[in-house]
């Protein structure tokens, strides 16, 4: 694995956000998305909306769309569980909903409390009407996120990209 590619995959996501003109990003603070969140917070053209729970983000995306802006959500796999009833909005109104999920509860997970939600994240998203794409390698991020952005915003679709725990790397618990 190329070290540079490994470090820069969040930048590839950011570049696609800029390419498709995303103006609002909702997120709950997350280690896996930390670099992307930092870049978004520094960008005056993107409203960074820190949420108390991920389900707030579904309403945010709906409102952004109704007002003519593109939005995206960043969350951990556990956050998908928090969103389920709010995904009602996506099904009933039909608007682009791009969600980038950093996975927990899978490869090299040390905390079994992450496993119940992590192991059902993808089927739950599918049941809620999302197209889902998994990314395992840093080199795949650019192409998959590019495709997901185009499907979401050109096709008015709900699309989730699952960034695998193997991609994100083992969580280090030593400070």
């Amino acid at each position: 694995m190329d070290d540079q590619t490994n470090i820069r995959w969040p930048d590839a996501i950011y570049d696609h956000f800029k390419r498709v003109g995303i103006r609002q990003v909702g997120y709950v603070p997350d280690a896996g998305h930390s670099r992307l969140i930092e870049r978004i917070c520094k960008d005056p053209e993107i409203a960074d909306v820190v949420l108390t729970t991920e389900e707030e983000g579904v309403g945010l995306v709906a409102g952004a769309h109704l007002g003519g802006q593109r939005a995206a959500l960043l969350m951990q796999s556990s956050g998908v569980g928090n969103c389920i009833n709010m995904f009602t909005l996506v099904r009933n109104m039909g608007f682009p909903c791009l969600v980038l999920v950093t996975m927990r509860g899978e490869f090299a997970e040390f905390n079994q409390w992450q496993v119940p939600m992590g192991s059902i994240t993808e089927p739950v998203l599918k049941l809620a009407g999302f197209l889902t794409y998994r990314v395992e390698e840093p080199g795949e991020v650019d192409e998959v996120v590019s495709a997901a952005c185009d499907m979401a915003f050109d096709g008015d679709l709900a699309v989730a990209v699952l960034l695998s725990q193997r991609l994100i790397g083992r969580k280090r618990w030593t400070k």
């Binding site: 707030e56 309403g59 409102g63 009933n92």
Partner: protein, 198 residues
Amino acid sequence: MSAERTKAEPAMLERRKLVRDLLVDRRDLMVVCGLGSATYDVAAAGDHPLNLYLWGAMGGAAMIGLGLALARPDRRVAVLTGDGEALMGLGALATIGVKQPKNLVIVVLDNGHYGETGMQASHTQGGANLVAIAKGCGFPDALALTDQAGVARVRELLHAGQGPILVNARISNEETPRFLPVRDGHAIKLRFMQAVNS
């Protein structure tokens, strides 16, 4: 103490009249309606393409308001919702407090009950004070509306107040006739977006 005060407070405002009064001469105000009675009240005040009627997604109305307010800083956004709906999305008040959208006003139609499910008591009757919560979340203005004399001021706030503002309107809990607007979310969305962009 606050719970006792809330219970003892006479509920002065009738919800249908209140909502009608708030939406008089509404111009291009965008209105997000929380599910249940708030949706019926806003529809009963006069159907309008800039009404976003919700029939589900309980707890989400304020956040839809935030997304809209951020997307259209040139326009005013009102969220009209019930106490139960607002309570389910309390975290949204903290999120809105962080973003400080100047063009967003939330009006809670607070009858202290879950009207849609059989008038069970809500937490506002048990002591939860939404005005204090909004202030604690950093809303520059949050106020209780308890009588007709305050309605004109709240209407001004909808159009010109510096948000985010939360108005907790104490309404009576008598039953109102059902007034059911369109339920098709796609139709509601398309009509709303055409009106926003026209």
